[in-house]
Symmetry: C2
Subunit: 371 residues, 2 copies
Amino acid sequence: MSDIYRKRLDTLQDSLNHNGFDACLIMQEENRRYLSGFTGEDNSVDESSGALIIGPKGLILATDSRFELHATHEAPLFEIHVYKKGLDKDIPELFDRVGATRVAFEETRVSVGRFNMFTKALNEKGSTVELVPHEDMTAPIRAIKSADEINIMREALTIAEAAFSAVKGRLVPGLSEKAIAWEMEKEMRTRGADGLSFPTIVASGPNAALPHAVPGDRTVNPGEPLLIDWGSRYNGYCSDSTRTVVLGTPCDTFKRVFDTLFEAQALAIDAIKDGASGKAVDAVARQFIEKTFPDGFGHGLGHGVGLEIHEAPRLSYLKDHTLKAGMVVTVEPGIYLPEWGGIRLENMVLVTENGAEVLNTLDYHDHVVAI
Amino acid sequence: MSDIYRKRLDTLQDSLNHNGFDACLIMQEENRRYLSGFTGEDNSVDESSGALIIGPKGLILATDSRFELHATHEAPLFEIHVYKKGLDKDIPELFDRVGATRVAFEETRVSVGRFNMFTKALNEKGSTVELVPHEDMTAPIRAIKSADEINIMREALTIAEAAFSAVKGRLVPGLSEKAIAWEMEKEMRTRGADGLSFPTIVASGPNAALPHAVPGDRTVNPGEPLLIDWGSRYNGYCSDSTRTVVLGTPCDTFKRVFDTLFEAQALAIDAIKDGASGKAVDAVARQFIEKTFPDGFGHGLGHGVGLEIHEAPRLSYLKDHTLKAGMVVTVEPGIYLPEWGGIRLENMVLVTENGAEVLNTLDYHDHVVAI
């Protein structure tokens, strides 16, 4: 196991040096886990279970006494430092110990308040260490998954798909969105998921026109779209899928929208391979959809998935990322028609040298639920 | 309903003026909800569902299109502004619109990266608005609960206690900590909780010596401590309780530790009233425990509970807060003996003019579970 972390740390060290740093402070939970193995979770923005301090002369995992045992067990490459009065008090000494002079930190994870505490502590000790905000240098490393990571993600997806199949078999008109979401959760948890990768979206009828609907008390009627967007977390890794089903007979709108999305998704997946542009893949689906539904598709086509539910790269019209073999991305075109509702189809796709492998195994052709 | 929010906003405005500000930016999820009614949740540190911009000439809730409908419905006192390319792009105009010149923001909730984006946008527009980090000015207002808030918290606690009683009735040796935690969650969710207020702690035997143990595969044995620390969330508000039970006959250590804590908790609760010092209340329990177990009690005695599981005030030896009528705090002395295990007893207590009211209704005297 240590070899895996050693390799990840070497890649990060190269990236640091390339960007003019000799050290970094890692506070983002998933980065911390990815680089060290330590699974401690942060329960809120200002409650941290620890930080990695990575420098030319050492690797330190700083945490508090609650996590000492776990940290020691999970992160053998790191020296465990237990702080008593907060990380900021000890940080000057810890930077010294790893030989840091110019330290990158994750600018999206460190609050202004915490940064000011760090700066104050460094000044008080007369430290000359420079603490520099930087975008996340671990993200591009995490974006490329190893064979082991892909296997874990397949497992997460297997649990999620089995849960969906079980719940689909019990769908009847009159169930509330909330009740369906809870059934989905129970099925995932009892099948071995650590938890959900995000709160399950269950949106029926007109609610399905909201891409991020929150399940409510509305009950499902025959003939209308029932959109379920869900994922399980397994060994820390997320799955993310969406299916839209209909109880009874789908109307003509349902059929037209569904067929358009099915085709758009297939075209986009055909365009995915190592070296492809995320923006270009998004455009393939978008242009196809806009021929029939000019204003129907408002969000990006997809995103990377891994330890986080949303991570690098993006398949988006806003920003371009180059796809690389080993990336796992969602391909999730959707069409939303206010009042009527919406349909979204989402699969997880592994980018390969010459193309793409769809990781989902659920068939789309059984989206009509007999009632 | 609007009157409640109006009153909260007036109190905040007073606090702003008192601190030399004419406006503030609210990004902390629970503060946003408390001041506006908007329930949108932030799924991660850098994914925000919106911000309040509060100034002398207006109240704005800025959010993205996903949340527009909810925001409009839930926050009638606020003008809803939908940003397309991120909050930072629009913030100079929004500050202008509310007449802001010196704006406080929550220093623990705004990341360095986001702050730099705000600053850049303000500079680009030649704005003279000052954006100043400040500790959370909403926290002291939220600490004092209204009668309505207390009723909601009683409801959260009722759900949580009913779940505990149900699970306790099914406890048998051989159940794993994880399985017990999942039973607790199911019972809370099916009894109407929105969710958990934090991941349930179930720690058996030696694991109970870790105040923040994560439930694992260890199975419960007769005679050892089984510590359960759990809470439900209802209408956004948290409950937080701990009980430590034993299957079969408790050993002498169990009895001694339990009796000491029971007495320590009662003494501390007796010391609580409007005007009391949190540090002094902590000392009452601490000194009593240390007479028998000098190193047993490592953490603070308690904390405020409300929309957040940990909020102002603290009952702690580190920092002093004055208790006021309407605050709801936990009183949770614990004794932890490495190798053997630990016991913690935690009740929620409402501070009143002349004393304290224990909100929990579960009895401690049935902590021995027959097997």
